[in-house]
Symmetry: C2
Subunit: 120 residues, 2 copies
């Protein structure tokens, strides 16, 4: 996100893609781990290491990056407790909760598409 060339075609196209509400939305949810994280958090608030343990192979760096992006986009609320060792809790915002039913439908569609493709 930081340190991009402002004039590349890549960036110019991104601007036009973000212009559309739909591609904007997918852009916001498109990180590799974001939806999986949201899925875990919709059950309950979790600490950093709890989330990490849900995904065998995610690196701490990636988890941090994805969580920060979700926070910046108003989908996740991050609460830091002034303790040692540190405790940080993550939970979904109202905005993210509204996404739930839509993602459920998308998930159903995914399952259907998958089995449809496999038939061939």
């Amino acid at each position: 996100m930081a340190g991009r060339k402002q004039s590349s075609t890549y960036t110019r196209n991104e601007v036009c893609i973000i212009d559309c509400d739909l591609t904007y939305a997918v852009h916001k949810l498109g990180g590799r781990w974001k939806l999986l994280i949201l899925d875990k958090l919709c059950k309950r608030k979790m600490r950093f290491n709890e989330i990490k343990k849900e995904f065998s192979y995610i690196s701490e760096r990636m988890l941090t990056l994805q969580l920060r992006a979700l926070e910046e986009d108003g989908l996740v609320k991050r609460t830091v407790f002034a303790e040692v060792p540190p405790r940080v809790e993550y939970e979904l915002t109202e905005m993210a909760l509204e996404l739930g039913p839509i993602l459920k439908q998308l998930s159903d569609w995914g399952g259907k598409q998958r089995s449809f493709i496999k038939k061939d």
Copy 2:
């Protein structure tokens, strides 16, 4: 899609991501231009160059790649007419049409999220 290392963490994680119906679905729709193309095609069937003209800055290569991926995933039907110069028409499949209402909701959510974020 072709020629990937089979053993990288990237690929191993992808396997586990594709395992989930939701992330699978987003994976299928996640190409930069795919949703924009679907959006145009849901109005009417179109020829290659017609689609191209809808997007000022897409390259022929990218358009080809995205269309082929959509075709492979059963979202777009490609019809080649045996004429010279060639004529090729693209149209949505039933599977893609079912996606319409879901994408509409996602688009609405995107608009809402965008204005919510801008307020700060």
